[in-house]
Amino acid sequence: MGLFNRCEAYLRSDSVAIVSLRGTVNQLPSWLENFYSGMVPANGSMKLNDSTTYNYHLANNPNALVHVGSLIGTGFLSRQYEPYLEAPLNRGIRSVIVTGFSQGGALTFLNTSHVYYKYSSSYPGLQVKAYAGAAPKPGNLYYAYDFDHITANGWGYRVVNTADWVPETPVSVQTVNDFVDINPITDAKATINKQKGATRIALKHIYNRMDKASYKAMKTLTKHLGRDVGKQEKRFCRSCKHRHLPTAACT
């Protein structure tokens, strides 16, 4: 299915529904999911195959972005486990654990958000708990804020070995535009222009170097880890042969 994503869903004896997500396997499509780390909005829709569209809402913050590879995995996986999750929910069970290791850890974040936002209003009292082991980064800061908010008070954990490189991936960069609306960084040029003579020239030089370097790094990452990997991903998806790109952002 998709990029070799698999999961298991089962009901524990103490009435806790558990969704366990598989990590990377030794197949190229599975690795492509890890490297396909372009950032896309956390809300929108994506065509998974000719007959299936994945409508997703993974964060309330409109600035939240998630890695597209993990999003594709979440799209395919959610279709697989949802029938097995809805059955216990319809029987009154309200405790759900989402867990996974490695790639499954990154998918744990997104699938926790998916389950929370899809079911919390129709199943009042639903409590989703996340255990992400050795997980890569799932998205940008605003997605992380949203995830930490919906799992506040001890409902979302990530387990990390400090010698492990995987939780440090995918490679990311912050530009001067990646701040909340009101900040002194994005429009620093206005402040710099108020300075005098040599100070203004020196500060402008430093700011421009930081701005251009980070912007160039972002463009490079977008090209190679977004567009280029995306072209390969469509060749290897086991469910279809087209690129999985968000078609529209929904509100």
């Binding site: 980064k137 930490d148 954990y157 990530r158 400090t162 010698a163």
Partner: protein, 46 residues
């Protein structure tokens, strides 16, 4: 950006003495065994 409450498994000198990195396997510290070792040692995992 990462997310979630961190459960940090600190790879200290004792850990590195136990799990010396073999050059060929770059994912050595990503395996279950190092994680299990640190969870047992630092979080009393049974």
């Amino acid at each position: 950006m990462t997310a979630g409450n961190p459960v940090v498994l600190m790879a200290d000198s004792a850990y590195h003495a136990t799990f010396e990195s073999p050059g060929a396997n770059v994912s050595y510290h990503h395996m279950y065994q190092p994680y299990r070792y640190l969870l047992q040692k630092q979080y009393a995992l049974k």
